[in-house]
């Protein structure tokens, strides 16, 4: 199994970055991996998949520190497994989901208390959306470069998909349906196809901006 690094990786040998451990013992981590899959490499992959998904679930619920909450969820599951709880092999995800909900509810209760305190102190700070013009220009430059790395038909698909109303006055839904028809695939398959390309672009732009 590959070495897990601080950016989201773990290690089948039981080595996790300290920020992820949070009181989790190597024994508990081993117990978790063993229950996920007897094969250590496969277990590591399942672990990463579950963690990635949990991060997104917390994000989709609007939580501000999704990675921390995903780690907290996994660590609680691991501790319970070390105590002898067994995952149902038919549905190992159900248990994670249940624990994630508990973690979320705790966060909500805490946020509610903080919200009251903040409201008394003048309210929430306004969130800032969008880049300033300089970083926006940089991002556009990076995106152009990253688009250049795609095959032409992929680049064309992504850009056509993101067109708003077309010159012919088609709305976005009709326009995308046309794209799906052209490709001979259902709309959701088109969405996923474009999303995979967008994910490539996201990583590429992220790397480009970090340089």
């Amino acid at each position: 199994m590959r070495q897990h690094g601080g950016g989201g990786d773990g290690d089948g040998s039981g080595v996790l970055p300290p920020e992820r451990l949070r009181g989790l013992t190597p024994e508990a981590f081993y117990a978790l991996l063993t229950q996920l899959n007897p094969d250590r490499d496969r277990a590591g992959e399942v672990y990463e998949t579950i963690r990635r998904k949990l991060v997104r679930l917390f994000e989709w619920r609007g939580c501000g520190s999704p990675e921390d909450l995903a780690d907290e969820t996994i660590n609680r599951v691991a501790r319970r497994l070390a105590e002898g709880v067994e995952l149902r092999s038919s549905d190992p995800y159900g248990y994670f989901c249940g624990v994630a909900h508990l973690v979320y509810k705790e966060v909500m209760r805490r946020a509610s208390r903080e919200h009251r305190a903040l409201a008394e102190g003048g309210g929430w700070p306004s969130p800032s959306f969008g880049d300033d013009s300089e970083s926006s220009d940089r991002r556009l430059d990076c995106l152009r470069r990253c688009l250049d790395q795609l095959a032409p038909e992929q680049r064309d698909l992504v850009l056509r998909y993101h067109q708003g109303k077309t010159e012919q006055g088609e709305n976005n839904i009709r326009h995308r349906q046309k794209l799906a028809d052209e490709a001979g695939i259902p709309m959701n398959a088109l969405r996923i196809r474009v999303h995979r390309l967008r994910r490539k672009l996201e990583s590429c732009v992220h790397a480009c901006l970090s340089h």
């Binding site: 549905d91 959306f129 680049r155 992504v158 077309t166 959701n188 969405r191 996201e202």
Partner: protein
Amino acid sequence: MRQNPTDDELLRSYLLGALPEEEVDRLEQRLLAEDELFELSEAVEADLLAACDRGELAPAERERVQQRLASSPRGRERLALAHALNTLAGSPGRAAAPVVPFQRRAATPVRPAFRWAALAAALLAAAGLSWFALERPHGGEAPPWVAQERPAPASPRAPEPPRGAPVPAETKPEPVKAVFQLALMSLRGEETAQKLRVRTGADIVELQVAVEGMEDFKSFHLTLRNRKAETVWEGEGLEPVKLDGVRALVVDLPADRLPAGTYEIQARGLAPGGDPEDLSPLEIEVEREGTR
């Protein structure tokens, strides 16, 4: 995956925080277990962010997207990416014009002498819609389709080897090709020559020019001229080949024949028994780049 027609709607409601809690629990369990549904959820999320950026959402939905999907640093990055994609997709020249490789001339075919201004309404673009440039030795692993082995074009003019290149031996490294896919499309108001960035070290520049929609032309005559209207290269009787299902002409040129500068590709289509028909020219600008 147990996807049904309502999954995308369900996911949209979920992402907007409009599902009852018990449905959220059920859906999240499915999201953890079903990879494809999870991927669809990410796709729907990205669509919402893009729609939010374009101002297509109702104010309440917009607020929910900002609070739920763009509240984390990564979420804000995704929103910024959606904005950048919308910007590029909506920029001039990105209209949904169909790819019309080599436009036919409507009027009497008067052969122009290097008329740069005559390029209005026509712009080079890469297969699909814009340029694609690739430089790599042949034979690398996992090549994109432009570099894959394909039937040789039925051109009466064999690709010329790089000047001064030794006769290829099996043990010699393959020449490095810079491959560019071209097509002509009508893009109003865009007259700028498109750039071919040829890296130092490229031996051959391969031009793949899409000629879709011109099935009546069995062969083509291409002339590449430099800014002084000198003929740099000329090919007669070029027959299209299929590249990933796209009918295209494939022309290999020694890279050293293309120093940095502006060029025009003039094209004529030849139908059996018919007169040659002039097509709109393509304007290109070759840039030379050093290897990194």
